[in-house]
């Protein structure tokens, strides 16, 4: 019996870790934008929701097969990135020097418009799609069934972390954007087009939100309001990790993902309380987040 609960705990940890991948994906996009552009982007969550809805529609077009899933996964985040570039080049770039509070309210206004746009295009009904046939079923890990799709997400996490590390540390745009997050004017003064760098970082961040949405699509109902749920979690993850710090986002996502999945075993009714308590505990001891903030 004891062995069984231990296995259940282990399974729950694995599920928590696979959810961490998605949280990390969304939060790292948010923290990139926050760190480099200094924009607390509230409509990041709306982009995640749009990514999920688009994946559904694309998968539906291909009859919900394996092809549909992969095409959706490839195309939906790109479309989301396209939307984000329109918003960034259209309005946001004129507001970079405003106060954070104004930017927060402005991006919140955009999120209101986007969520109504989703309502307009997809209606108020929720959608759900099953995992593609390729990922159906479960594998046995220590005698407990573990869904294959979660395993896929679990494996994706390290790749994502490595990709982001490579992007920020080894590529030119990454190096420039890190420099711009420390001293924007200086980077501008040595003749680099900061506006263009900002735009690219913004697109990458929003692409990650769309990708997170595309990946969550087969796992849960795609609803109006999923933007609200994710954005608050993503912001909290970013805050406990340290603003603008990608490893902080990873750490925060781990804390969030694990506390909520283990909480289901301990106290089902209030399991969603646990991550919030974790956030409060972390911030009581480390008011500026676990890792160094770039601000």
């Amino acid at each position: 019996m004891e062995n069984l609960t231990l296995n259940a705990l282990f399974q729950q940890i694995l599920i928590g870790l696979s959810r961490t991948t998605i949280l990390f994906m969304v939060a790292s996009g948010l923290t990139l934008v926050l760190g480099v552009l200094r924009i607390p982007n509230v409509f990041h969550g709306s982009l995640y929701m749009i990514g999920a809805f688009l994946t559904y529609t694309i998968a539906q077009y291909f009859g919900f097969g394996t092809t549909g899933f992969w095409v959706g996964l490839a195309v939906a985040p790109l479309l989301v990135a396209l939307i984000s570039i329109a918003i960034e080049r259209g309005i946001l770039r004129t507001l970079y020097d405003r106060e954070h509070l104004m930017l927060l309210l402005f991006t919140f206004s955009i999120s209101m418009v986007l969520s109504d746009a989703v309502k307009f295009v997809w209606g108020a009904k929720f959608r759900s799609m099953s995992v593609p046939p390729f990922f159906e079923g479960a594998v046995d890990i220590l005698g407990m069934p573990f869904p294959r799709y979660n395993l896929f997400l679990l494996c994706l996490g390290p790749f994502l972390a490595f990709g982001l590390w490579f992007l920020t540390n080894k590529t030119k745009i990454g190096k420039i954007s890190r420099a711009a997050s420390v001293d924007r004017d200086m980077v501008d003064a040595i003749g680099i087009n900061v506006s263009l760098v900002f735009a690219s970082v913004f697109i990458i961040g929003c692409y990650l939100a769309g990708l997170g949405g595309a990946l969550i699509a087969p796992m849960q109902n795609i609803t109006q309001g999923m933007d609200h749920d994710i954005i608050i979690e993503a912001f909290l993850i970013v805050i406990i990790g340290g603003l603008g710090n990608i490893w902080g986002a990873l750490l925060g996502a781990l804390i969030f993902g694990l506390t909520s999945s283990i909480g289901i075993l301990i106290w089902p009714q209030f399991s969603i309380v646990l991550p919030y308590i974790a956030v409060i505990t972390v911030l009581s001891f480390r008011p500026n987040g676990l890792l160094k903030s770039v601000w």
Binding site: V113, L236, I239, Q269, V279
Partner: protein, 312 residues
């Protein structure tokens, strides 16, 4: 005492507005009385937020939680404890202020964005508890049909009660803003380092400001129960808090009555807008964007600047 904040002309206008608001229910159909009552509640709420936001310069991102907490306190005193609404009305601001104090003590060490985000986190915790605790709060259904005393049960009676309480609260908040405390508070907003150097206890002032703001938000919550007769967890959700911020911004948060105007504009828009279109929040979003782009000081702020310019 009111140096510069009120001219004689605007004082006269204010008296006129009070008289009009007191007489209006005699002429208006019930729906409009209800609308006015809702506007006054939202106006009180937005003004209470502005105590810390506009006058204190603090990033109070989750003000709605105190409002909702007050509303739930009033509702639970009536439905669960079976006591009179008046006791609930008295308890609401106290519990809200207590919550404000506790959350304030935890958040106060942080500044700006971190402060706001930790507040959203703590507020979401309160929201989750209300949302999940079916036995006490009714969960996502909320509590409906809260019995009220006869005198405030009718729409008109409720309106007069709300009108009277709101007026008194606005006056109190105005006095607070004009008091030495309020002046110091505004000085902290403009330059916290200098205030610290002058020997002002910045943290304590900010904490007191937070308690005041949550106290009045709690009253607004108790008034919401009178206006609607029900409470639901959305009152504590963070998106409502951002809407209150929008009210303050729209009206102009450096002017005392700005948030009231912003609240009136947004409540009217929502109630009429949502009968014409399902997409009123998109409309609101566009209005907000235009405000931020073209009227960063809000509507009243814009007009005040204009009059100051023409006087020059």
């Amino acid at each position: 005492m009111f140096n510069g904040l009120f001219s004689k002309k605007s004082f006269g206008l204010l008296i006129l507005a009070l008289i009009v608001l007191a007489l209006l229910p005699q002429f208006l159909p019930r729906f409009y009385i209800y609308l006015l009552a809702v506007i006054l509640v939202a106006g009180l709420l937005a003004t209470s937020l502005n105590v810390v936001l506009g006058f204190g310069g603090m990033f109070q991102f989750h003000h709605g939680v105190f409002y909702g907490f007050g509303a739930y306190t009033a509702a639970l005193v009536v439905t669960k404890a079976g006591l009179s609404y008046w006791l609930g009305f008295a308890a609401a601001p106290l519990t809200a202020a207590l919550l404000g104090l506790v959350m304030g003590i935890i958040c106060i060490r942080l500044s700006k964005l971190y402060f706001g985000m930790l507040q959203i986190s703590l507020g979401s915790l309160v929201w989750v508890v209300v949302f999940r605790w079916y036995d006490l709060t009714g969960g996502d259904d909320g509590i409906h049909g809260i019995p009220l005393p006869d005198i405030i049960y009718s729409t008109t009676g409720g309106y007069y009660f709300i009108f009277a309480v709101t007026s008194v609260c606005l006056l109190l908040m105005f006095l607070i803003a004009c008091s030495p405390f309020g002046r110091t508070f505004q000085a902290i907003r403009d330059n916290p380092e200098r205030c610290e150097a002058l020997g002002v206890n910045v943290r304590r002032h900010q904490l007191i400001g937070l308690v005041f703001a949550s106290f009045f938000a709690g009253i607004a919550g108790a008034l919401f129960v009178v206006a609607e007769g029900s409470v639901f967890p959305d009152l504590l959700f963070w998106s409502l808090s951002l809407e209150i911020l929008i009210m303050c911004l729209l009206g102009g948060w450096f002017i005392f009555l700005g948030p009231l105007f912003g609240a009136a504009a947004i409540v009217t828009l929502r109630i009429f807008g949502s009968t014409y279109t399902d997409y009123w929040s998109a409309v609101l979003g566009v209005i907000m964007m235009l405000t931020i782009l073209f009227l960063p000081d809000g509507i009243l702020g814009f007009f005040r600047k204009k009059t100051i310019k023409s006087e020059e």
